[in-house]
Amino acid sequence: MIDPNKIKKDFPILRQKVNGKDLVYLDNAATTQKPQVVIDAITNYYQNDNANIHRGVHTLAERATQKYEEAREKLAKFIGAGSSREVLFTSGTTGALNLVAQSWGRANLKKGDTVLLTVMEHHSNLVPWQILSKELGFSLEFIHVTKDGLLEEAEGTIRRVKPKLLAFTHVSNVLGTINPVKNLTKAAHDVGALVLVDGAQAVAHLPVNVSALGCDFYALSGHKMFGPTGVGVLWGREELLKEMPPFLGGGEMIKEVYLREASYKEPPYKFEAGTPHIEGVIGLGAAVDYLNSLGMKEIQEQEEELISYALNELEKVKDLNIFGTFDPKKRSGVVAFTVARIHPHDLATVLDQEGIAIRSGNHCAMPLHSHFKLVATARASFSVYNAKEEVGKLVEGIEKAKKILQ
């Protein structure tokens, strides 16, 4: 079993006091902290290997290119991709989702088609489709959410709507719900739809194998899995990527360029125009090594126990209302809640005074909040370095806020 207090030592930022108290970082769904090995990989790249990749023939360029491509191999293996050619580096999950919309979507969607989303999507898997549907005239439909925070009649909706694309989140960033990707993918494929999965909240918390899930695209962010910000991955099936037109044009993605036309490289390079976020990719590779050293199954087990404990402790707090399912098998380490007569922002400010970092607001999921007739919630989100004692401190902080504010 993983000992979070031991893991914590790998993260230098966690050894600090905030407002005179030991930092309790419970905003991991927004971004995770970075272990020393990731920080070292980035520093080492700039101290020893910095060069532009895939261009120069000199030693540093060769070294930087090799490290960048090694990271691609690591990512491919980490998510169970058939080949590293299916791993495209993007600016993050948002970049990856927009790439699918602007490249695959623009080439394949037209009036009369439907893209099926869910009510629990993050704005990043909602707004790109709204923008495109206004332009191309296809429809958007939604799988609804039960009061327990699970998808409602998902497979029935897929069969009824017969979408061209089903795009949904693997793990909800508000409810923590782990959606049944495999079953939904099968139902979508049965009606001829492609499947895009937003994995931003999943990859650092449970083992992900895209080949086993069976989906067609999978998007993730580096900074939510101990890597740097500004880098993410779009995984896509090679045959789809080959057919898709480029999204951004520029250097690196071309074979030959003439004044009026150009020919493009094969994926993944076709989709990586311009100098990429090289140190970000190398840092993300180091983050994958770090996650592998802990073991994704072990991380999942540890977080499952922590979330059960947290739900149990929070449920005992008077006037506190938790959203989402209480089944730890269907829920990842995110707990959104409200406390009667306390605005989430005020709660977050009082907790900050105790050194506890949580998120307050709508967490980029305004439609989901509207669905529950809420404007904002407080959200505590956990990572493998969070210990049970920290849940205790959260509960104490909430009680203090109640004394001041209720």
Binding site: H345, D346, T349, G361, M366, V375, A376
Partner: protein, 120 residues
């Protein structure tokens, strides 16, 4: 830091000028995009004197935005339109004793933004 000191909490728990004027001279519903909270501000201004006769607000906001709205409405009653236009962010932030972090400043400034919107 003590943004939740007694005076602020009193304004938050017992907000002055809570409500909505039926026939306002000026009105604005202004949202805070960070949290989705909205301040609905209504003003009645005298035709003759150009002074604020009544100011009311409603909001689903936090302690900071409710207290700021309560204090602002108290503050502007009796003032002329010209004086309202001169109110600066610093004045409102001053009511919180300079204790607000940058993210919470927007909560405090929400009613002032609504006021400026209503007058524009």
């Amino acid at each position: 830091m003590d943004i939740y000191r007694e005076e602020i909490l009193d304004h938050a728990k017992n907000p002055r000028n809570w409500g909505k004027l039926l026939h306002p001279t000026f009105r604005a519903k202004f949202p805070n995009p960070l949290c989705g909270d909205v301040v609905d501000l209504t003003l009645k201004v005298s035709d003759k004197t150009k002074q604020v006769e009544e100011a009311k607000f409603e909001t689903n906001g936090c302690v900071v935005s409710v207290a700021a709205s309560s204090l602002l409405t108290e503050n502007i009653i009796g003032k002329t339109l010209e004086e309202l236009n001169k109110i600066q962010d610093e004045e409102v932030l001053g009511w919180f004793g300079g204790d607000l972090t940058s993210s919470r400043r927007e909560c405090a400034l929400l009613p002032l933004r609504a006021l400026k919107e209503a007058l524009s």
